[in-house]
Amino acid sequence: MRIETLVPTVARVEEIRQETPDIRSLRLVFEDEDFKSDFAFKPGQFCLISVLGVGEAVFCIASPPQWEDFIEVSVKEVGKVTSAIHDLEIGAKVGFRGPYGNWFPFEENFGRSIVFVGGGIGLAPLRPLIWQTLSKRDRFRDVYLIYGARSVADLVYKDDLKEWSSRDDIRFTKTVDPGGEDETWDGEVGLVPQILEKVSPPSDSVLITCGPPIMIKFVLLSANKLGFRPGDVITTLEMKMKCGVGTCGRCNIGNKYVCRHGPVFTLEEMEKLPNEF
């Protein structure tokens, strides 16, 4: 891979959706026609979005590859760049670099059952893979999704959740943390790892999870308890990144650069890394 190092292309904000009180999704369209037609990525890969004059930050690509004319990113307001992104309006221009990093296995899992486990904005990296899986649904056995957030208001992609609830080819269990439910809530109440154990999907499935670090930690423990093989448990990690290609030196966990060797790791791979996450 040869890169014109670190120079973004321009993308236009075409749509903005307020997902939760502090999360917005942006639909981006590339301005450069050549870049647009050459652009290809796989679920699990990430990008860097620039607000010119403020800086650059890392986001997973939250839309599936088959939605060809645009990509989506979901942004939680936590710092300088994410606040600036929240201030953008439709028509605004941002810088885009990517796709970077590795991706979730897909064809490798044909013929198997898949269990998606997401928490909060951690559904964002799973979302493209869920849609991709549903687009080739006949290639998989059972598909499970367990998704939870702190409260009903904190659930992202409400339209997607509604569609997945109504489909009979995905076993969708939604949950909110105790106290996060409201009077209309018809899902589970409980922490995601507990609900995973309650649903108890077959342990010969592939389990793919993302969420807050503390949730990932307990999901991995639950997966272990349920008998999943460490090589079949997959997550995606986040560290501070600047370059996205493994040269700026800050996102490593042990000898692996999260931006280049990851962000997708199996539990088996993670067990070999030092505890620096």
Partner: protein, 322 residues
Amino acid sequence: MKTIEDILRLIEDWQGKGYTVVAPVRSEGLVSFEVLRAPSQIDFDHVLTVNTLKDVTLPRCETLFKYDVEKASIEPSWEASQPIVVFGSRPCDAAAVTILDSILMGEVTDSRYARRRENMIVVTLACSQADEACFCTSMGYGPHDPTGSDIIGLPSKGGYVFRVVSQKGKDFASKVGLELDEGRADPEPELKRRITTDGIKAWLDENFESPKWEKVSENCVSCGACYYLCPTCHCFDIADEAGASRGVRMRIWDCCSFAGFTKMAAHQPRVGKHRRYRQRIMHKFKYTVDNIGKTACVGDGRCIRYCPYGVDITEVLEALRE
């Protein structure tokens, strides 16, 4: 054998042929690699420059692109590429270039680094002296080691004998009409500082968690001097220098000693200077070995010479392994 006078005439000739020459120049008591105005500026008497060839290949601060917020334009910035001869690098400087090449022109190519490297010829002057801090032989190199040089001048009876090392050096020599020398080189200088690296990698493989990390980093003040002076440290930051509507995005050297290096809005994976110091040692003596098959240390000793609190990397390595 070429005398100093012969060498100065050669360099004048290279400059006349359009080459930019970067060489060690003494100024206010310090010798640094600088773009040479006149050959007479070259210092032949020092042991090692303060700065490294990073200043040529990976500048402290460079503009990646200019932008205009109103027009939403992004204009990549690149200086005209011109052939550069680095003259008078030491064998450790040249060896360090090969390490950065493996990292920045390996699996991923950093196009800016690569373009500078393509245009750069390394003409080393091997060492006739070593100081207290030099430990290149401990790291598998040596005062006359040709690794990374295109041409090497070996000290010989007050002058130098020049030998070609690489194809690039051969092409350059024939292009500028540089005659190579027969003749014997002086013996290599002895280094006083010597450690054995046996067992260090094995210790690091097993000891990510160890009380020794706090101990060996006790005197470190996280100033980053070792990073800035290290010929192989290459971590960088990216930042916008913004005006109201126009600005530039810069790449700037950055250092794993600084807390802000890994701090995210909601998470800091490396709390405490011992964890950051561990990253420095692990990166040089384990992670780089795992990833490219060699350590990211050439034993130039700059970090030992210039640490304001006397942190000595050879003592640290020995203390870790003990």
